[in-house]
C-alpha cells in the first residue's frame, strides 16, 4: 500500500483515495480472478491424472492468491499492478475458453 507523501490539494487527495480504492478492488477481485484462472490452467494442462491435477490446482490456489495480492498491495506502480493482474486474468480466461473442458 504505497501511502506516498501527503497530497497537497483537495484534487490530489481525491485522486489518491480513488487510487487506493482501485488498488483494493484490483487486489481483492482481480487477484482472486488471477489466482483462479492461474490454478485452473494448471489443473487443465498438467499432464497427470485429472483428479490429481485438479487437486494440485485447488491446494495451491490460496498461495497464488496471497502472493499476487501482497505484491499488488506493495508495488507502488498502480498501472503495472492493474495491467498484470487484470490482464493476466483476462488472458488466462481466454485461454481456458479456448481449451474447454478436459476431454
Amino acid at each position: 500500500m504505497s501511502a506516498g507523501p501527503v497530497p497537497a490539494s483537495r484534487h490530489a487527495a481525491a485522486r489518491h483515495s480513488a487510487g487506493v480504492v482501485w488498488r483494493c478492488v484490483t487486489v481483492l477481485f482481480g487477484g482472486y480472478a488471477f489466482a483462479a484462472v492461474g490454478v485452473t490452467l494448471l489443473a487443465r494442462l498438467l499432464p497427470i491424472d485429472r483428479a490429481e491435477a485438479t487437486g494440485w490446482g485447488m491446494v495451491l490456489s490460496f498461495l497464488v492468491f496471497v502472493s499476487v495480492g501482497l505484491w499488488g498491495l506493495h508495488d507502488h506502480r498502480l498501472g503495472r499492478v492493474s495491467l498484470v493482474i487484470w490482464g493476466g486474468a483476462a488472458l488466462g480466461f481466454a485461454a481456458l475458453r479456448l481449451l474447454g473442458v478436459r476431454p
Binding site: 489443473a43 497427470i48 495480492g69 507502488h76
Partner: protein
C-alpha cells in the same frame, strides 16, 4: 540493509496493519470458537448431562440405527449414519426421503440423534452443543453462503497478515525471548510478537488448512475445467461410489452390522460412517468409511457393498499425492487424529492465536494514542470495537453454556434460545460499554467475564448431579475437564481485569516523536 529492503519492510508493515485491523475482530471470534471446537464432541456431551455414555461398538450401533431407520423409512432414497466413538455418545442419522406422490422432493426430519445401543430416540435436552461453536467458526451465524465467504475472506486476510508480518519483522529469533512488562506500547508489541512467533508454524498451518477445508466452495474452477459434472470429481477424488438409480425391484437389506464388521476386519480400524443408498431395493449399496484415528489424512478410505447381497462392489483406491495433501491439510485443521495430549496442545495453540489477534488489535490503538491529545474518531471506534470483541465476546460464549444449564430441560425451542443467549449477551454488553470510559469498560467487562466463566461449574453442580467434585470422584473426565477449563478461563479473565484496572505507567525517558514511533513499532 538496502533501501529496497527497508522500503519492502515499511510497506509490508502498512499492509500488515490494515489486513490485521480489518479482519481482526472477526478473526478473534473465529479463533475462540474454533479453539473450542477441538472439543466439539466433549462440549456436546457436557451440554446433554442426561446421557450416560455406554460403550457400544460401531457395528452394534450401525445395526441398531439401521433397524430404526428401516422401521421409519424403508423406502427412503438414502441414509447417512455417523457412528459413535470414544468421544461421541450418540449415533447421528440423516434421511433423504423419496419424492412424494406428486413427484416433489419431501423434506426429511433433519438430524436424528439415536441411542447407539437400541436405535431409539435419545432423551436429552435439545441443544446445539459444541456444534454451535463449530458452525459459528466458519459460518459466523450468517445466511448461507455469505458467512462462509466472509470467514474465507478473513482467513485470506489472515494469511496475508502472517506473511507480511514475517517480512516486516527484523528479529524473529530474538523475539522468542523478549517480553517486557509494564512498558505500555512496547509491551503490547512484545506480547503480539511472542504469541505470533512462538506459534508461527501453527498459525500459518491453521490458516492455510482452514481455507482448504472449504476449497471446493472457494475455488471450484479447477474442477469445472476438468469435469463436465462436478460430482464426477467427488467420485474420483473421494472414492464415492457412483450414484446409481433404484431398480424398482424390492430386496431386503442385508445385515449391515456384519458389513461393518467385515470392513473393520479389512482395515484393522473402526468404522465411522455409513451411507446406505436405496435401502430395500435390489440396487441398494452400503458404503462404510474408516475412522480417522491413527491417520492425519481426514479423507479416510471406504468400502462399498451391495446392499442386497453383501458383495464388495468397490474399494476406494488410495489417493494420489495432491489429494493426499489436501486430505492431510484437512486433517491437520480438524485434528480428529489427535489424542488427548495433542488435543490440549492444539487448544493452547488456538488460544495463542486469539492472543496474537487480540494484542494486534490493541497495538493498533496504543500506537496511535497521544498523551494529552483527544483521540480521533477512528481511534475511538477501533477501541470500542476491540472492547466489544476481545472483552465481551467471551462473555457471550459463557452465556451460551450457562443458558444450557439454566433453561429448563423440557422447554420448547431451547436449543435456539441457548444460541440467542450468546448473541443477546454479547450485543447488549457491546452497547452498554459505550456508556463507560474505555479503561473502565475493559476492566469491568473482563471482571464480568471472570464471574460468568466461574459461574459455569457452580451452576453445573447446582443443576445436575455431575458437578466438578462428583465428576472427579467418579473419573468422569469430560465433565471434570469442561469445568476445570472454565475455571482456568475465569482466572485468566480475572487477571486481565486486574491488569486493566491499574493506572498505566507514566512514560519514562525521552518522548518519541511520531516518525520515531514508526520505527519503534517495527524494530
Amino acid at each position: 540493509m538496502s533501501a529496497a529492503a527497508i522500503g519492502l519492510r515499511q510497506s509490508m508493515a502498512t499492509i500488515h496493519g490494515w489486513l490485521g485491523l480489518l479482519a481482526g475482530w472477526i478473526l478473534f471470534t473465529m479463533f475462540l470458537t474454533g479453539t473450542a471446537s477441538y472439543f466439539r464432541p466433549e462440549i456436546t456431551q457436557w451440554m446433554q448431562p442426561e446421557i450416560r455414555p455406554a460403550a457400544v461398538s460401531p457395528s452394534q450401533a450401525a445395526g441398531a440405527a439401521v433397524r430404526r431407520l428401516n422401521a421409519d423409512g424403508p423406502d427412503d432414497v438414502q441414509w447417512y449414519i455417523y457412528l459413535p466413538d470414544d468421544r461421541t455418545v450418540a449415533t447421528r442419522a440423516f434421511r433423504l426421503l423419496a419424492p412424494g406422490p406428486d413427484g416433489k422432493p419431501q423434506r426429511g426430519p433433519g438430524e436424528i440423534t439415536l441411542d447407539p445401543a437400541t436405535g431409539a430416540d435419545l432423551h436429552a435436552r435439545d441443544t446445539r452443543g459444541g456444534e454451535h461453536f463449530y458452525r459459528f467458526h466458519f459460518q459466523l451465524q450468517l445466511p448461507h453462503p455469505w458467512g462462509r465467504w466472509l470467514a474465507g475472506l478473513c482467513a485470506m486476510f489472515m494469511l496475508g497478515a502472517i506473511i507480511s508480518g514475517v517480512i516486516t519483522h527484523k528479529r524473529i529469533f530474538a523475539d522468542f525471548f523478549t517480553l517486557r512488562w509494564n512498558k505500555g506500547q512496547r509491551s503490547w508489541l512484545d506480547a503480539h510478537n511472542v504469541s505470533a512467533v512462538l506459534a508461527l508454524p501453527y498459525h500459518a498451518m491453521i490458516t492455510y488448512t482452514g481455507l482448504i477445508t472449504l476449497v471446493a466452495m472457494y475455488m471450484p474452477w479447477p474442477v469445472a475445467a476438468n469435469y463436465a459434472k462436478p460430482l464426477a470429481f467427488a467420485e474420483a477424488a473421494y472414492g464415492l461410489p457412483a450414484e446409481g438409480e433404484a431398480s424398482g425391484r424390492r430386496a431386503p437389506l442385508v445385515d449391515v452390522a456384519a458389513l461393518v464388521r467385515d470392513a473393520e476386519g479389512r482395515w484393522g480400524k473402526p468404522a465411522t460412517r455409513l451411507v446406505v443408498r436405496h435401502p430395500n431395493d435390489a440396487a441398494a449399496t452400503v458404503t462404510v468409511s474408516r475412522h480417522t484415528r491413527g491417520s492425519i489424512n481426514a479423507r479416510t478410505p471406504s468400502i462399498t457393498y451391495d446392499g442386497a447381497t453383501g458383495r464388495v462392489l468397490a474399494v476406494a483406491p488410495d489417493a494420489g499425492p495432491a489429494l493426499s495433501t489436501a486430505g492431510v491439510m484437512l486433517g491437520l485443521h480438524i485434528a480428529g487424529f489427535a489424542g488427548p495430549a495433542l488435543r490440549w496442545a492444539y487448544f493452547a495453540l488456538g488460544l495463542t492465536g486469539a492472543a496474537m489477534v487480540g494484542t494486534g488489535l490493541l497495538l493498533w490503538t496504543t500506537k496511535r494514542r497521544r498523551p494529552n491529545a483527544a483521540p480521533f474518531f477512528g481511534l475511538r471506534l477501533v477501541e470500542r470495537l476491540n472492547i466489544a470483541v476481545v472483552a465481551a465476546f467471551p462473555i457471550g460464549m459463557a452465556a451460551y453454556l450457562l443458558a444450557n444449564r439454566l433453561i429448563p430441560a423440557q422447554a420448547q425451542g431451547r436449543a435456539a434460545t441457548e444460541v440467542s443467549a450468546m448473541f443477546w449477551v454479547w450485543g447488549i454488553l457491546s452497547l452498554v460499554q459505550l456508556a463507560r470510559p474505555a479503561r473502565r469498560a475493559w476492566a469491568e467487562l473482563f471482571a464480568l467475564g471472570a464471574l460468568a466463566w466461574a459461574a459455569i461449574p457452580i451452576v453445573d453442580a447446582a443443576t445436575t448431579d455431575r458437578g466438578l467434585f462428583h465428576a472427579l470422584a467418579t473419573g468422569d473426565m469430560v465433565f471434570a475437564g469442561v469445568d476445570i477449563a472454565t475455571l482456568v478461563i475465569a482466572l485468566t479473565l480475572a487477571l486481565a481485569a486486574w491488569r486493566a484496572s491499574r493506572r498505566p505507567p507514566a512514560p519514562k525517558g525521552r518522548r518519541t516523536t511520531a516518525p520515531r514511533q514508526e520505527q519503534l513499532v517495527h524494530a
